[in-house]
């Protein structure tokens, strides 16, 4: 087979070798969303389900892409943080979508994307309404896609109200990932989030609405768990409304068998036209979110690599190439060409193994060189994917944050520095914003950085290093840590 492949960054087609080079010169980001567990920490059946799903495996999100198709606009509940009428291509948040598709259009779009983006492994339906309520369209889309692309993982996101009616359909279609959005287990809390639900032909409000929703959500979780379908629970953290309560939610969903819990910050602004936005309800700060996530440690596995992507997002997490695949750009007839995806998968299998081995070696070296009680360090990484340091500092719209100590390197979170409204500010302002984004970070690793920003970062107490350009993230972060805490700093030079 001639190995024609596409680089992580897009459409340049070349050989397998050129793919490796493309990754080195371009890049993606590294480890830590969904479960950060490696195969040895998981039973083989579960690992097989999550290993190529970017939202369920932090490791997979460096290599695999998802796409959402917006075929399900109808919804059966109203949330105070959602306004589905609002649509702006410049912002990224769930429920927001530019173009609604019929199941037939969606199936064509999936093939067109699979032909162009070999990293594609997952098709999700996340609305923009509720995928389980608008079930006829969701089901037809899945059936059409399964006919041409049987190896694509199908997954859906729902509020759970209608899901118990369709669980057996999910089994028939081999769907083994479902995301349930659960913001409360106490209807008193729910009444502040959900003004109404539509259930059994009636609109219900107040406590009654939240009581029914809660019962159906728990029923959904139990039914899915009993059938071996992996459940990710999404919760929107709303300060003053459910922030403390989410600790209880975390315990309950873990008890009921949720595989992952993804606590997301409320996105709220008056211009979104949501009830919360208009009331001035604020979202949590990064510190508040981290505190809650830390307090939930020991509960369900926490997902920290979530990018809160749109209901029509396309690409690796953290990127959205949806604008390249609007329906007017999708041909009337498209034929699936499996070669690129097959080649990419072979390449990834090898690359993942290399990276895992490199990380193990780095950990052993750190273990030997650094005292157990040495203080942890936070390191930011500019990456375009593939688990490598491969992005120019000035091109980064987000940084992956890693914590490192004698125990090893752990993905903590990503921090965005393009949040919704940066456009229009001058370069100086942007750098200030980036420096603010990097608060508490000791070192930033990137493929390249100019002298001016490096000096400004230095003044802010952040060391910028470009000497590990294109290396694996874990290896480089370990080396920085050893230099700081143990071994002499000979191999680390400030950029």
């Amino acid at each position: 087979m001639t190995a024609n492949v596409i680089s992580l960054n897009g459409l340049s087609v070349g050989s397998k070798d050129s793919l490796t080079k493309a990754l080195e010169s371009e890049g993606c980001s590294s480890s830590s969303c969904g479960s950060s567990d490696a195969p040895e920490d998981m039973d083989p059946e579960t690992w097989a389900k999550v290993k190529d799903h970017p939202c369920y495996s932090e490791e997979a999100h460096h290599y695999f892409a998802r796409m959402h198709v917006a075929v399900a606009p109808a919804c059966n509940i109203q949330c105070n943080y959602c306004n589905r009428k609002y649509d702006c291509a410049n912002e990224s948040r769930p429920g927001v979508v530019s173009e609604r598709l019929t199941p037939e259009q969606a199936a064509r779009k999936v093939i067109a994307v699979a032909n162009e983006i070999p990293q594609l492994s997952v098709l999700g339906i996340a609305g923009p309404g509720d995928s389980a309520y608008d079930w006829r369209k969701t089901k037809e889309t899945f059936q059409r896609v399964a006919e041409t692309l049987p190896d694509i993982k199908l997954c859906l996101s729902t509020n759970g109200l209608a899901l118990p009616d369709h669980v057996d359909d999910l089994l028939d279609m081999n769907i083994d990932h479902v995301t349930l959005t659960i913001n409360m287990i106490d209807p008193e809390v729910g009444a502040k989030i959900y003004p109404w639900i539509f259930y059994e032909h009636k609109r219900r409000t107040g406590l009654e609405a939240s009581q029914i929703l809660h019962e159906r959500q728990m029923q959904s979780l139990d039914m899915l768990h009993e059938r071996g379908i992996l459940v990710k629970v999404n919760s929107v953290m709303i300060p003053g409304i459910n922030d403390e309560h989410l600790l209880e939610v975390n315990k309950e969903v873990k008890k009921r068998g949720a595989f992952l819990h993804n606590i997301m910050p409320l996105i709220s602004a008056p211009e979104h036209g949501t009830v919360f936005g208009l009331e001035g309800q604020r979202g949590p700060t990064a510190a508040e979110l981290k505190k809650l996530q830390d307090a939930c440690a020991g509960g369900a596995n926490l997902m920290k690599h979530c990018r809160q992507c749109r209901a029509d997002a396309v690409g690796l997490l953290g990127e959205d190439r949806g604008q390249e695949f609007t329906m007017d750009l999708v041909p009337d007839e498209v034929t699936y060409d499996p070669e690129k995806r097959e080649t990419y998968r072979e390449w990834v299998a090898k690359e993942r193994e290399d990276r895992r081995n490199a990380a193990a070696v780095a950990k052993a070296e750190t273990d030997a060189a650094v005292a157990d009680e040495a203080e942890a360090l936070l390191v930011a990484v500019a990456t375009k994917g593939g688990g490598r340091i491969n992005q120019h500092f000035g091109h980064a719209t987000e940084f992956q944050i890693f914590e490192v100590d004698a125990e090893g390197v752990r993905f903590v979170t990503h921090r965005r520095c393009d949040n919704y409204c940066v456009g229009g500010y001058g370069e100086e302002d942007k750098l200030e914003l980036v420096i603010k984004t990097l608060e508490g970070i000791d070192t930033i690793l990137c493929a390249k950085i100019g002298d001016c920003p490096r000096e400004d970062l230095e003044k802010a107490g952040i060391t910028a290093i470009q000497d590990y350009a294109y290396d694996y993230i874990e290896t480089a972060v370990s080396a920085v840590y050893r230099a700081r805490r143990g071994l002499p700093a000979t191999e680390v030079e400030t950029a």
Partner: protein
């Protein structure tokens, strides 16, 4: 005796089409339209008109 959809409010989510017991709601030229010949305001089927119950926007499915 029929309801109508106020086009300027409609988000085109289609929930009304889904819930209508009379198949009176159709998607035509980028919007949903209620056929007054088929609409019964859900009398005999449900206590309240289903399109108005499920519609996410207030004052959108209203008496014609």
């Amino acid at each position: 005796m029929a309801l109508q959809i106020i086009q300027s409010n409609c988000t085109v989510c289609g929930a009304c089409e889904f819930e209508c017991p009379n198949a009176a709601i159709k998607f035509e030229s980028d919007t949903y339209i209620i056929d007054p010949e088929l609409c019964t305001e859900c009398k005999g089927s449900y206590d309240t008109p289903q399109c108005a119950e499920v519609c996410p926007v207030p004052e959108t499915c209203v008496p014609a």
